[in-house]
Amino acid sequence: MRTLSLAAAVVVLGLAFSVLRVAAQETPPLPRVFWSFEGPFGTIDRAAAQRGYQVYKQVCSACHSMNLFHFRDLAGIGYTPEQITAIAASVQVPGPPNAQGQSSPISGKPADAFPSPFPTEAAAKAAFNGAVPPDMSLMANAFVGGPSYIYGILNGFRNPPSGVAVPPGRYYNIYFPGNFIAMPPPLHDSAVTYADGTPATVPQMAHDVATFLYFVANPHVDQRKRIGAHVVLFLVFITGLTYALKRKVWSEVEH
């Protein structure tokens, strides 16, 4: 009974605190999106990730680098070695210096990382009113909400409420902390033409590119969960055996 009342007190306190916490938030809660990789057995939806790669390539990569992700890593979402070689070859990457010390771009190989669209960080800064477009390699892990945050930002552009003056070079986004984001709305309906015929609405593209970026940030996630299931099953089995052994050993003593 005492334990019960104690537990009840803890729950009540916890609820009171969570209410306080919600009251302190400035942006609305992120949209609730279903992700194929949710939960202990969820996996990356490869078709969505491939569509997302297309969005990245045709839209995002104009401004955002992805310097920790290599062309060869695309194998993780189902591209064949031939496709990867072709994709890499279609992109210009910085080449090695020649005898005069001059370097000119060459076509990429599968082992190259996705190149930055700007020669230097300063150039990126100059193009965007001082805000450097962040690298996308870990973007899906770098915000509270992860892919749902990316989805929210891409769908969160609105006309500012009356009385709110948006500074020049900034755009109004309901999910961005402070609401003024330096990125212009990057997606519009049919911004890309999907190879598989999926209608390219803004929510669809946002969902696909967020799936792709989750894969980019966590390239081993499917393998990790698959191994994890085996590891946990094995450990549960061993725990059962060990517990039986413990009972056997202790059955000889009065305790």
Partner: protein, 424 residues
């Protein structure tokens, strides 16, 4: 029979016999880990010391492999950790084990400490065990803090800046000390290099102190849930196989929790900001330490004066050194201390409250809550422990461990109900 200078032993294996006669490690192991008389009434809370030892071993092994692929420079640290995560064979697993192992280490150690507080394991004759334990806690905290800086994410950098700046509160020499700690005028490459070096060194110092901690336990013997002394062989069991097998059950359950964290929820306890490379020109909106430092962070922020906050922060841990002398009650186990039992529960809630306050911005209600919880922490240590020991009327103690576990003696029903796991 023994030749001059050789140690007599009863090992049959000739190689073991030969070695033991010259270096009695086998005899020592036999005495300390097979025969070692251990109270027969441990509950599963007595697993956590062994679990922490296993965790230490896991951290050292994974850490050695991480260090082989890590680049301790501000230019390369972040990318080298990502290289481990992406390209090193099984690197993601090794790193997730190391990263979540740090959190689990504190879970285990905090349960171990609160178990010691509840059952009075710090009281005579175990003061030395306890004080060595506090040294281990401080070393663990230093190791964890420096390890957190190494991936060189935003929270690594800003956490390091905030924590090292605490020393700046020391009057007169504070700023000099901070510059000396940094090896420069800001957290930068020299800081990262020395943190890497020390992060590799400290775990081995921990191993040394752990050895002393265990040596002290094996000198005076373990405490037990009744908190009464062992009266004779009927109260004890040999450590092996009884407690090796019981610890093994605990280790299995702990590994299940560990595996679930590593394989399914590896980022549960991580700050998203640490997925962004350190940027000295951009302060995150909120600088929050890892969860295991939150109660202490709350104490720091509860005091409006920086030096005062730093003193109370370090004081909250250093005060544990004198705990054996602050508690005046001759009764060890809170099972027989009707008032302290409740104060212990309130103390646990108080520490959770501090942790909760530490996780939130110091505005509004959280300032008040933090101050109340900080005052309660010190009142518990400095007033309740000395005073209640004098005022409280303890319940009658059982005659002996063996009488108690066999249902004889004055074992209160509440105590029996508190040990459901022991029925096995």
């Amino acid at each position: 029979m023994a030749e001059l200078g050789l140690q007599d032993n009863e090992f049959k294996n000739p190689v073991v016999h030969w070695i033991d006669a010259r270096l009695p490690v086998f005899t020592a192991m036999h005495k300390e880990y097979r025969q070692f008389p251990t109270p027969k009434n441990f509950n599963y809370f007595w697993n956590f010391g062994a679990l922490a030892t296993v965790n230490l071993a896991i951290m050292i092994v994974t850490g050695i492999f991480l260090a082989m692929n890590y680049n301790p420079s501000t230019a390369g640290a972040f990318d080298s950790v990502q290289r481990i995560m992406r390209d090193v064979n099984w690197g993601w697993m090794i790193r997730y084990i190391h990263m979540n192992g740090a959190s689990l280490f504190f879970v285990l150690v905090y349960v171990h400490i609160f178990r010691g507080l509840y059952y009075g394991s710090y009281k005579k004759p175990r003061e030395m065990i306890w004080m060595l334990g506090v040294v281990l806690l401080l070393l663990l905290m230093a190791t964890a803090f420096m390890g957190y800086v190494l991936p060189w994410g935003q929270m690594s950098f800003w956490g390091a800046t905030v924590i090292t700046n605490l020393f700046g509160a020391i009057p007169v020499v504070g700023h000099g000390i901070v510059t000396w700690l940094w090896g420069g005028f800001a957290v930068a490459n020299p800081t990262l290099n020395r943190f890497f070096s020390l992060h590799y060194l400290l775990p081995f110092i921990i191993v040394g102190f752990l050895f002393l901690h265990i040596m002290a336990i094996h000198t005076v013997g373990s405490n037990n849930p009744l908190g009464i002394d062992v009266r004779g062989p009927q109260d004890t069991l040999p450590f092996h196989p009884y407690y090796t097998v019981k610890d093994s059950v605990g280790i299995c359950v702990y590994l299940i929790v560990f595996a679930i964290l590593v394989f399914f929820l590896p980022h549960l306890l991580a700050d998203p900001n640490n997925s962004i490379q350190a940027n000295p020109l951009q302060t995150p909106s909120d600088i929050v330490p890892e969860w295991y430092f939150l109660p202490f962070y709350a104490i720091l922020r509860s005091v409006p004066n920086k030096l005062g906050g730093v003193v109370l922060l370090f004081g909250s841990i250093l005060i544990l050194f004198v705990l054996p002398w602050l508690d005046t009650s001759p009764v060890r186990s809170c099972r027989f201390r009707p008032i302290m039992r409740w104060l212990w529960i309130l103390f646990v809630i108080d520490v959770f409250m501090l942790g909760y306050v530490g996780a939130n911005k110091p505005v509004g209600i959280f300032i008040l809550l933090g101050r109340i919880a900080t005052v309660w922490y010190y009142v518990h240590m400095l007033i309740f422990l000395p005073l209640i020991g004098k005022l409280e009327r303890p319940l009658p103690l059982p005659e002996s461990i063996s009488k108690s576990v066999l249902g004889g003696g004055a074992l209160p029903s509440a105590a029996a109900a508190a040990r459901p796991m022991e029925k096995a």
